[in-house]
Amino acid sequence: MEAEISINYLAISTELIVIFTIVGTISLDLILSKKSKYLVALFALAGSLISFIPIVFQWANYSKAIVLFEGSYVIDKFSIILKGLFILITYLTFLLSINFIESDSYYEGEYYFLLLCSLLGALVVASSRDLLTIFIGIELASGPMFLLSGWKKGDPKSNEGAIKFFLLGVLSASLILYGFSLLYGVTGKIIFAEIVASLSATGLHQSPVILLSAILILAGIGFKISVVPFHSWAPDTYEGAPLPVTAYLSISSKATGFLALIILFTKVFFESGSSWGVILVLISGVTMFIGNLSALQQTNPIRLLAYSSIAQAGFILAPLAVAGITGNYDEGVYASITYLVIYAFMNMGAFLVVNILINASDSENIYEWGGLAKDSPITGIFSVIFFFSLAGIPPLGGWFAKFVVFRSLLSTGEIFGLSLGVVGAINAVIALVYYARISKIIWMDDSPAGERVVTVPNTLKVVGFISLALTVLAGIFPGIFSNLGEASAIFFSS
């Protein structure tokens, strides 16, 4: 192999900028004195913003996929959109974190460093097209999260959440690896295209080894996207972790997991979809039910959001599941990704609301939040927008997310899709109850503690308004997501 190494640096400039920011952040953290540590935060914020510039550029120019490293790394519109999403979410998480980090004597530098590392992992996953790269991406994305979830060092809950997260996370990583090893063992290849070619040549798509590999990988990723039965860590970890981290976990980590799932199952295992499709259908349906029914029971807002995000994961999974059975991957991926994107912003908003309200009421029991909307109407409006968007009420973004999912479920009219559609419809109604409950409490219940002064820091307002704008925009002009369809199409053609 003496091929000349030529790298299209422009294509990977996003990743490079993030790497530079990571290095810069940790260096600044070492150099700067305690007083000027806030510069670290500014630097990280600036870096993540700058990394968005190439995204815009690439979106405008890359009409077809750019393939790097002999097919291991691909930059296409699909990955570009997701990278944009990851960066934006990370940026919002930074904003969400600033007050949080400043309020306690936490290590600032490392915090940003770790989040940026996780971001880098996510970026890598988006473009990876071989087993090794995707594995590194996944590990890079989740490794820092183990630490971040235990960030509240003095808080036993946080520790506990972290160890659970960690142990299960490592276990899942090893399962993924075992699955990879089987895949490698059968085909001898690690680049997806080559694996598929080898499998088609040998006709081993449905062989037990490949299916076992798929299942192990599914289990591993199932942990990341927290679907039943791999979800049990999520409520505990979410509850224990600092709120911004929880938000990041439930959005970015989950998105990374879904991305890995989409890439692996539609690029590698797509021909055995009839087998894993059925499993995914089951998982998706059960996840919705268990997530929503458990969420009904929650009094802790974070646990409530944890179960809500489990249920939402069921929704995101549903189109993929049906796509596996019908082979209509294009449609399924489009629906999942659209859901994922809209979900990202409305869930970010929901966490923001919970963040504000917990601080305002000094209570992690939603039933003590009565009347808070009167003390802070802006939070009240945020809560209405985000929670009802999660419930899927038009004209808020969530409806379109649900709509595309239903659309893809019913597209072929086969029985699995139809049943999942009905399950989804029932769950949409169940979910409404607990989403509406929060709005009900803060708008309609009386304050148990008299008038409370609620201050919403400006950074949080920024997060709120960005999320709100995107959520509402998504609901009123869902046409903006037609790009995602185009991107999914390109993703499959490459």
Partner: protein
Amino acid sequence: MSAQPFLIAAAGLFSMGIYGILVRRNAVMVLLSIELILNAVNINFVVFNQMLSDVLLNGQIFTVFIITIAAAEVGIGLAIVLMLFRNRQTANINEFDLMKW
């Protein structure tokens, strides 16, 4: 030479790891059990590489990466366990059930 004994050994290692995770109470031991699983994977990769005579040595490269990552993860894991130990004076994971509903 057949690859089968190696694969069986790897599978055995894997199972032992799983057993360890489930049964050991000490967090450090659980960590070590996870290492067992990772090593089972490593064996798999190396054996497959040899078996398939992969000239690109993908399996071996993979193994190197896994070892690295495993090291990193153990580092993280130990950090968390340490933190826990500091707060709770125990490394027995069975006692971590603060959040049991």
